[in-house]
Amino acid sequence: MQRAVQGTRRLGGLSVILCLGCLVAAAQEDGAARKIVVDGSTTVGPIAKAFAGYYMAQNPDVNITVSESGSGNGAKSLINSTCDVADLSRFMKVKEFEAAVANGVCPVAHVVAMDGLAIVVNPRNPVQELSLAQVRDIYKGQIKNWSELGGPNVAIVKISRDTNSGTYETFESLVMDNEKIAPDTEYVGSNGAARQRVKSTPGAIGYVGLGFTKGVKRLLIDGVEATKENVASGRYPVARPLFMFTNGYPKLGTHLHAFVTLHLTSDGQEMIERKGYVPVTSYPAKARLVNDDES
């Protein structure tokens, strides 16, 4: 009897090991080519998520995961080889390049879209337009009340992104001219959070990517509206490209290659436009009227 019990136990142990072995083998087969890990900017996030959803629907055996931890963290992930694609809403810094090369990683930039930095206020705020210098003075703390700008007598609540953000760095160089942002500024961790804060605070001002302006009011900057045309032509003063970085140029024919070149297809362009960004390509927009069998 006891021997039988021992036998079963041994069998049990053996099968557990076998199962583990199968798991490991399956994982090995699965691990590499069919997973794409995307990390980084919260501004590029909506594009990456749309691309991931689109690509996974077409390739049921591929798993693309997207997380939005900020441009700085995205760059770190690529440097440490913990992601395949790093979303950045700014270009990679020299220091990051050096760290990457020291780790044997060679960052290659793919510009996926153009984006304007919308300066936004609560829709109840009557102010419609500011000059770049005025925005700078607000964030420097020299203009403290909306009444100084022709608005109601309410203190200005300044909302900024955290320093890990690419959007923050764009703002710092294009708007602030690298002058210091006043210490009473409130820092938030994502585009969505900045929008929510401005949306719920009548006296707030903030800056977000073009995809995040629902429910808040975009201000005209130096008389120019942050439209797609103005961003693409460079007339809108606070515009920047959005990047996806990979380690080396991805091997042709791989899922990774298809993913980071998706923005060059007309479907990719449509997704970028619908998310509120400006595509780098200029195919004619998808025809609303279907011309039956013209082609």
Binding site: K49, Y54, S67, P123, R124, K214, G215
Partner: protein, 451 residues
């Protein structure tokens, strides 16, 4: 103390007790009511024909004949709207900003126009799927929100301007009364029980579909954490109770374990990132040697991090439970000639099992709900539900992280509040089930041991 004073003190103490219990119950009700009510709203709600369309096209579910009948009525009801649009375009041309805006508002309500090619994004392929959303979308078709800034010293006031005004005297003028009168026919509202909310994949970052990937991810992470933490925890507890000498070093070790229980969970998260992902690269162990895959976040790394988080709780619970076993059990076992190891394995541990199990299940509840440790080690905002073997190398969406992510980072956070509430309710119910399981298990094991 005089008897009278003692009575007064006694009564006021009782009163205070009742008061605090009432306060706690009130807080619970205030907290749980919206979670339960709005969470259930994610599953039981008034759906429109567009909801049925999502299910038919993407999940191949639903009663085809009912759908066809409803769809036919809806299409017939919508036809005049598109006829009016065509008539307007024939007269005024298509290059018109206000027409664009109206078409966009109509697309939000009814989905793409019949003469439109299929949009790429799922959120553009369908109209409003929930009746509450549909009413809001209809309002946006009928009115344009403008702001009255006539007094620049005050904040503006929202004004709803009827869109009909803009199109007065054109073929579109009658579109607006038509939409408000025939909304029901165009969208076919009906009560539905969308059980697929729990078992469907999400579509277009939670615009439609369910939260299966999140639920599965949370289950994997919890089970993984327990798999790692329980053996280690019990063995440590046995060592601490039965083998550890009475030495000051052991005292230090004990207080270290207690301290570990008080460390903020984000610290574990950062430790997991630095150690399991960057240094040990656990996600790479299970890839082929020539693999180009990166050492990304994975359920494995997340489970290991959560395991460290719950380890002190399990050690403490197991230690207490083993210590509580009567000395006589052990002495009896030893006196009939059992060795120390055998005594522990066959007498002490079974007797301590109820206590240990309670500790395990409580820590499972903690592991399921923790957010900070998985941010850097396992959780992502978009991803598929994983197969078991993929847990070794791939990250996953998980309930606690997705709740946070949806309300802070999602571009359409306000439109998908019901998904957030649904996720919160699911998580609360999951933890509640675990705790109930603990109570039942404990009662059963105790009864068996007693009998």
């Amino acid at each position: 103390m005089r008897l009278g004073t003692r009575k007064v003190v006694d009564r006021s103490f009782t009163g205070l007790g009742i008061f605090s219990i009432a306060l706690v119950s009130l807080a619970l009700v205030i907290l749980l009511t919206p979670i339960v009510v709005r969470g259930i709203g994610a599953v039981v709600f008034r759906a429109t024909i567009e909801h049925d369309r999502v299910l038919m096209e993407h999940f191949e579910r639903g009663n085809a004949s009912t759908f066809a009948a409803r769809n036919a009525t809806a299409i017939a009801a919508r036809a005049p709207v598109y006829e009016m649009l065509t008539a307007y375009e024939a007269q005024y041309g298509v290059d018109d900003f206000e027409l664009e805006e109206l078409r966009e508002a109509l697309q939000r309500l009814l989905g793409p126009a019949p003469d439109q090619s299929k949009p790429t994004l799922a959120r553009d392929q369908f109209g409003a799927t929930r009746w509450a959303q549909a009413q809001e979308a209809a309002h946006n078709v009928l009115y344009v929100q403008e702001w009255d800034y006539s007094d620049p010293t005050q904040f503006g006031v929202p004004v709803d301007v009827p869109r009909a005004k803009r199109f007065a005297g054109t073929p579109l003028e009658s579109l607006f009364p038509y939409v408000s009168e025939h909304l029901d026919e165009m969208l076919q509202p009906h009560w539905t029980l969308y059980w697929g909310f729990l078992l469907d994949d999400s579509l277009d970052a939670h615009m439609f579909g369910g939260i299966w990937a999140e639920i599965l991810g949370t289950l994997y992470l919890t089970i993984g954490a327990v798999l790692f933490a329980v053996p280690m925890g019990i063995i440590s507890a046995i060592y601490l109770v039965e083998y550890a000498p009475d030495h000051w070093l052991i005292g230090v070790l004990r207080s270290c374990i207690s301290t570990l229980a008080g460390v903020p969970s984000i610290v574990f998260g950062l430790f997991g990132l630095a150690f399991f992902i960057n240094t040990a690269q656990v996600s790479k162990y299970f890839m082929a040697a020539d693999s180009t895959g990166v050492s990304s976040k994975s359920i494995l790394a997340g489970s290991l991090t959560l395991a460290i988080l719950i380890l002190p709780v399990i050690i403490r619970a197991a230690e207490e439970a083993i210590r509580a076993v009567p000395r006589t059990y052990k002495e009896a076992a030893l006196s009939v000639g059992a060795g120390k190891w055998r005594t522990i394995l066959t007498v002490m541990l079974p007797a301590a099992l109820p206590g240990i199990l309670t500790g395990i299940v409580i820590s499972m509840g903690r592991a399921a709900g923790e957010t900070a440790p998985i941010i850097f080690t396992a959780a992502v905002s978009v991803g598929r539900p994983l197969e078991v073997w993929q847990t070794l190398t791939q990250p996953t969406p998980a309930l606690p992280w997705s709740v946070y992510n949806l309300c802070t980072e999602h571009t359409a956070a306000d439109e998908i509040r019901h998904v957030q509430y649904g996720m919160v309710l699911t998580l609360v119910v999951l933890v509640l089930l675990l705790n109930t399981a603990a109570i039942i298990l404990r009662a059963r094991v105790s009864r068996r041991l007693a009998g």
